[in-house]
């Protein structure tokens, strides 16, 4: 069957049908991206308050991507020009030239995506931000897998309600030999129920867990029933307490000696942990499992690039947490430099605003509070050596003693990148620069990934015309020209979205 109005225009609309179709589709696309742009504006104007992780604008970590964004803009603009020339070539009935322009378009799309890949990879694997408890932020890279706490567990207190506990996946090495005990409620004249199991696999543990959990549930149900029955008869009944937790301890393995479990819990699984001078250290899981034992290692070995105090009130910057960390590791001078730099910034602002008061938002925003970290060799006489915040020598940090010589110039001479050790207890949040790192990264990844999908989709369609267009061209060149025009319209739209994405994501 012949589809009407593929080549010729309908008399009432004056257009061939595909063109109406693509414009309706583009209208819906405008709404899709419009919603996201609106979300962007909302996040962007709200950011100065410092509620979220600061917008990375002005940070070196961000600036390095501006050039990638710039190159991608040029690439997309060029491809837009090429696609109209491909269309003109078809109108001139020059198939060979059409092919050349189309190859250029597809290559541009590929170049765009390669650039995007480099940028994503860099953000996701090369950069980690650390937010300390007082909201001061450090930008850099986590060097060691010390980002996970290492905890020697002597005993675990496991709630026997709900699902299997999260710690089961946290053992370093194989599943260790364990002994699990649950002691039931006490009743007069009866031995409490005792459910005990030794084993050395997750399966063994699950057997014990489910059996003990059933016991807890039955006992609780029984107590509730007694209470209900008593109420029916108009009596009072004091419910007996039902223990809902079991204890898991290390058992003697093949070697004969029992050793503490070594746990490496993920940041997200933990509520917190604490050290104690006279008792065991404690670790609290998010599923209410509590662990007694000893913190073995909890230092984050961090290659520091930048400091960001946007979120610390100006009056409190003097006592920001990170100064303590630097001081203890022989980088006390960083604070002096920061303060000096900041005084200059304030002076600049005073000159800029002349007699008018500096708006609070400008003051609180990056102008004053942002600085690049210029760590350098400590001046003579300054304390040297790092990572002894808790009296523990930093075994995890090979650079602790000679770290100050470990200068890694990234080609620009004065940016020394140094390793500092950060105690996990001081850390509020850390992560790579993925979507969950902050509002900027969330909206950045959402919008650029959606745009990237459009680039891939558009390139596939145009590549299809390039590879399989010949037959249609020989049959009816005008039909192919119309298809390319419609594909081109989509491609221009993709370019148009990027024209806005470039300034708002990289420059504003």
């Amino acid at each position: 069957m012949e589809i009407p109005y593929e080549v010729t225009a309908r008399r009432d609309t004056g257009l061939y049908n595909a063109k109406i179709g693509i414009w309706l589709f583009l209208a819906s696309e405008v709404m899709l991206f419009g919603g996201l742009f609106s979300a962007y504006v909302f996040l962007r104007v709200g950011v100065i308050d410092g509620v979220d992780t600061p917008w990375p604008l002005g940070l070196d970590v961000h600036k390095q991507f501006v050039w990638i964004g710039f190159v991608n803009t040029i690439v997309l603009i060029a491809s837009s020009v090429f696609v109209v020339f491909a269309w003109v070539s078809l109108k001139e009935r020059n198939y060979q030239r059409f092919q050349i322009w189309m190859v250029a378009v597809v290559l541009c799309a590929a170049a765009f995506m390669v650039n995007k890949f480099i940028e994503y990879k860099n953000k996701l694997t090369e950069h980690h931000g650390i937010k300390l408890v007082d909201n001061s932020v450090m930008e850099g890279k986590i060097v060691h897998d010390t980002e996970k706490i290492k905890f020697a567990a002597d005993s675990l207190n496991v709630p026997l309600q709900g699902g299997l506990p999260a710690f089961l996946g946290d053992f370093e090495g194989d599943f260790p030999a364990f002994k699990a005990v649950y002691v039931g409620k006490e009743e007069e004249g009866k031995e409490p129920v005792k459910i005990e199991k030794s084993g050395s696999s997750a399966g063994d543990f699950a057997d014990w867990f489910y059996e003990a959990r059933r016991q807890v549930a039955e006992d609780l149900a029984e107590e509730r029933k007694k209470l209900r029955d008593a109420k029916k008869e108009g009596k009072t009944y004091q419910m007996k307490p039902v223990p809902t937790k079991g204890t898991v301890t290390p058992a003697a393995g093949e070697g004969g000696e029992s050793e503490p479990f070594v746990l490496r819990p993920d940041n997200r699984k933990m509520v917190n942990y604490s050290r104690s001078e006279d008792g065991p250290d404690k670790l609290n899981y998010i599923d209410a499992v509590t662990v007694d034992g000893k913190v073995l290692a909890d230092k984050i070995e961090y290659e520091l690039h930048e400091i960001n105090l946007q979120q610390v009130p100006i009056t409190k910057q003097d006592s920001a947490k990170l100064w303590e960390i630097f001081e203890s590791q022989g980088h006390g001078y960083v604070k002096d430099e920061f303060m000096e730099h900041q005084a200059e910034r304030i002076q600049e602002l005073r000159t800029k605003f002349k007699d008018k008061p500096i708006p609070a938002k400008v003051m609180q925003s990056a102008f004053v509070n942002l600085i690049e970290a210029h760590l350098h060799e400590p001046k003579t006489g300054e304390k040297k050596g790092g990572g002894d915040v808790h009296g523990e020598k930093a075994k995890v940090n090979p650079a602790a003693d000679d770290g100050h010589d470990k200068k890694d110039d990234h080609g620009d001479g004065h940016h020394g990148h140094y390793t500092v050790l950060i105690d996990r207890g001081d850390v509020k949040f850390f992560g790579n620069h993925g979507p969950r790192y902050g509002n900027y990264y969330a909206i950045y990844f959402t919008m650029t990934a959606l745009h990237g999908l459009h680039v891939v989709g558009g390139a596939l369609v145009l590549a299809y015309f390039l590879i399989f267009g010949k037959k249609l061209y020989l049959k009816n060149p005008e039909h192919l020209a119309n298809r390319v025009e419609v594909g081109g319209l989509f491609w221009h739209f993709v370019d148009l979205v990027w024209i806005f994405l470039f300034p708002i994501m990289y420059l504003l």
Partner: protein, 117 residues
């Protein structure tokens, strides 16, 4: 577009496409300069409203060039303008959602909390 274009018309088209392409490249360089060249002040942390206005105006000009010339909106059939009129109306609505959010009293409270220093 008309079904068939004369060689003169096509030549004219090609000229305008090249010109627009060059203009877009120039504007992109301006955007970049606005962002990273200190005298133009854009992109310095704490970008002011002037910076945003200039930056988005340049982007708007670029977008208009693409839409008018590359997407042929400078001489299109009326039906398409009708579609786009609707789109524009709803798009504005979306953007105003943000403004409504800015009048949020809770936000104002947070504002004053964080800016009192």
């Amino acid at each position: 577009m008309a079904d068939s274009l004369s060689p003169e018309e096509l030549a004219k088209h090609k000229k305008s496409y090249t010109a627009v392409g060059i203009a877009l490249l120039v504007f992109t360089c301006i955007t970049l300069a606005l962002g990273i060249w200190p005298p133009l002040d854009l992109g310095v942390p704490g970008a002011t409203w002037e910076d945003v206005v200039i930056g988005l105006t340049v982007a708007g000009v670029k977008a208009s060039l693409v839409a008018l010339i590359f997407m042929h909106l400078n001489h299109e059939k009326s039906l398409i303008y009708k579609f786009l009129l609707f789109t524009f109306f709803f798009f504005l609505g979306l953007m105003f959602l943000t403004l409504f959010a800015l009048w949020d009293p809770i936000r104002e409270a947070i504002d004053s909390y964080y800016t009192r220093g």
